[in-house]
């Protein structure tokens, strides 16, 4: 072994990290014969001892006691408690499946939505559930952009834009509709929080985006930490997917009609 090779190994030698017995013996043989390398190893060993002393010194250090109670308090005041996930290992699988599904659905829905934009709307106050399931609702957070023109007497339902909290949504009233007819179509919903599909906070989407309503197997809910009634495991469940302007799905929430 030469000095250059010894230099490459000296840190691990001083840390006792060299597993290869032959290599360690060669290094130590060289160190016995070479004063420079012996002093080099001595310095590294002193450093190892100094680092170890600091490590021992800090072993008893931990966060202030008050922090635990602050966190427990924060935990209690959370808006939504996510129930048990049956199997955590399925999460990645479902996340991938959902993301792939959403990309396909988004393409179809976006084209359809643009087509619908060009036609006058007949019914908006209460959306029949079958149409509603696949409707893409655009929103944009920049307030100065002009809204699309609509026929005067019609009003679109206010879409709930909050991303946090448990949100109950009811469509707005429409005086032009017969009450009994409307009552058949009014959709009341309750939705979960948006759950991030990536590390990105949904509220960071500054440039607008879309919420797309999709249907997923009920079992998909388990992937996001929601309970699934095993009797209805194979049934469909509605979900809103928050898409960025880049078409990437950023968050999802599950919706229940009642």
């Amino acid at each position: 072994m030469n000095c250059q090779r010894f230099e490459e190994l000296v840190s691990e030698l001083a840390r006792g990290q060299i597993m290869d017995a032959d290599l360690q013996r060669d290094a130590l043989d060289h160190e016995r014969e070479c004063r420079e390398c012996m002093l080099r190893l001595n310095a590294e060993e002193h450093l190892t001892r100094g680092l170890h002393a600091l490590k021992l010194e800090m072993e008893s250090v931990s966060a202030p006691m008050a922090l635990e109670s602050h966190l427990v308090e924060a935990f209690r005041t959370r808006n939504v408690v996510h129930p048990i996930v049956p199997r955590r290992t399925m999460a990645r699988y479902w996340l991938t499946a959902v993301a792939a599904l959403l990309l396909i659905v988004f393409g179809v829905v976006a084209a359809r939505w643009r087509h619908e934009q060009k036609q006058p709307r007949q019914v908006e106050a209460a959306v029949p559930s079958k149409q509603y399931e696949k409707q893409a609702v655009a929103y944009n957070r920049t307030p100065d952009q002009p809204k699309p023109e609509r026929p005067a007497p019609e009003r679109r339902p206010k879409r709930e834009r909050r991303l946090n909290g448990l949100v109950a949504k009811t469509p707005s009233r429409n005086a032009n509709r017969d009450e009994s007819q409307i009552s058949n179509h009014v959709v009341k919903e309750i939705a979960t929080d948006f759950v991030a599909l990536s590390y990105l906070n949904p509220e960071n989407i500054q440039e607008g985006g879309q919420i797309v309503r999709v249907e997923l197997p009920r079992s998909a809910m388990a992937s996001f930490g929601f309970p699934v009634n095993m009797d209805r495991y194979n049934e469909k469940v509605k979900a809103d997917v928050l898409l960025g302007v880049d078409g990437v799905a950023h968050a999802i929430r599950f919706v229940k009609e009642y």
Binding site: E12, E36, L47, K55, S62, R92, D231
Partner: protein, 215 residues
């Protein structure tokens, strides 16, 4: 009329592993949070303290890590590493954000640090040999805090947290070879900083520049 579906709830206890406690915590189990916190908080707090040198930053980072876990704990994937590694990775992000945002530490420019460390083969007796234990600890602590971030974090993780190269690579999101070479470099820098002042003065006059370590 059918009864409402109620998920089966297992009570959190200290025999459960991190993954089980996380699952219960995300299901709303407060005891699981407490157990997980008590099990993992110290390593996170110490890591943040060793990286920043500031107890208040360490406390804030520890809090942020567990708040993140409450909000986004479902993104943890056991197939990609252990929960302690995941938590230290999150802690690292918060620490670096704080350090870069607040300029908490006055560190020397990386180029300068590398240049000085490039004069390898320190054969002179070091400062550590002449210090008491308390002085040694303080000198090493200060020397670590003065390292550039990319070297400081490998020293903290490999030497002070005693994590393996594999675990450190998981946390830093880099190759194992990168960890190894950075640690070697970091130790050379520490030895330079820990040499007696008169020796350091002599060597800083010599400007031998070697290839930068980009590992």
């Amino acid at each position: 009329m059918t009864a409402a579906f109620r998920p089966f709830r297992m009570k959190a206890n200290n025999d459960q592993n991190d993954g089980e406690l996380l699952r219960l915590m995300l299901a709303g189990d407060e005891d699981a949070l407490t157990l997980l916190y008590r099990r993992r908080q110290a390593a996170i707090y110490r890591f943040a303290l060793q990286m920043s040198g500031s107890p208040s930053v360490a406390e804030d980072v520890t809090q942020e890590v567990f708040l993140f876990l409450m909000r986004q704990g479902h993104v943890f994937d056991a197939a990609r590493g252990s929960l302690p590694s995941f938590l230290l990775g999150v802690a690292r992000n918060y620490v670096l954000r704080r350090l870069r945002g607040e300029q908490l530490l006055v560190t020397l420019a990386d180029d300068y640090e590398d240049e000085v460390a490039s004069e390898q083969t320190r054969t002179e007796p070091g400062l550590l040999e002449e210090l008491t234990r308390a002085e040694t600890i303080e000198a090493v602590r200060k020397a670590i805090l003065s390292l550039p971030e990319r070297y400081r974090e490998v020293v903290v993780l490999c030497e002070l947290q005693e994590l393996s190269y594999v675990e450190t690579a998981e946390i830093l999101g880099c190759a194992i070879g990168t960890v190894r070479s950075r640690l070697h470099r970091a130790r050379s820098l520490l030895l330079t900083k820990l040499r007696p002042a008169e020796q350091a003065d002599q060597t800083t006059e010599v400007t031998v520049k070697s290839a930068r370590c980009f590992a």
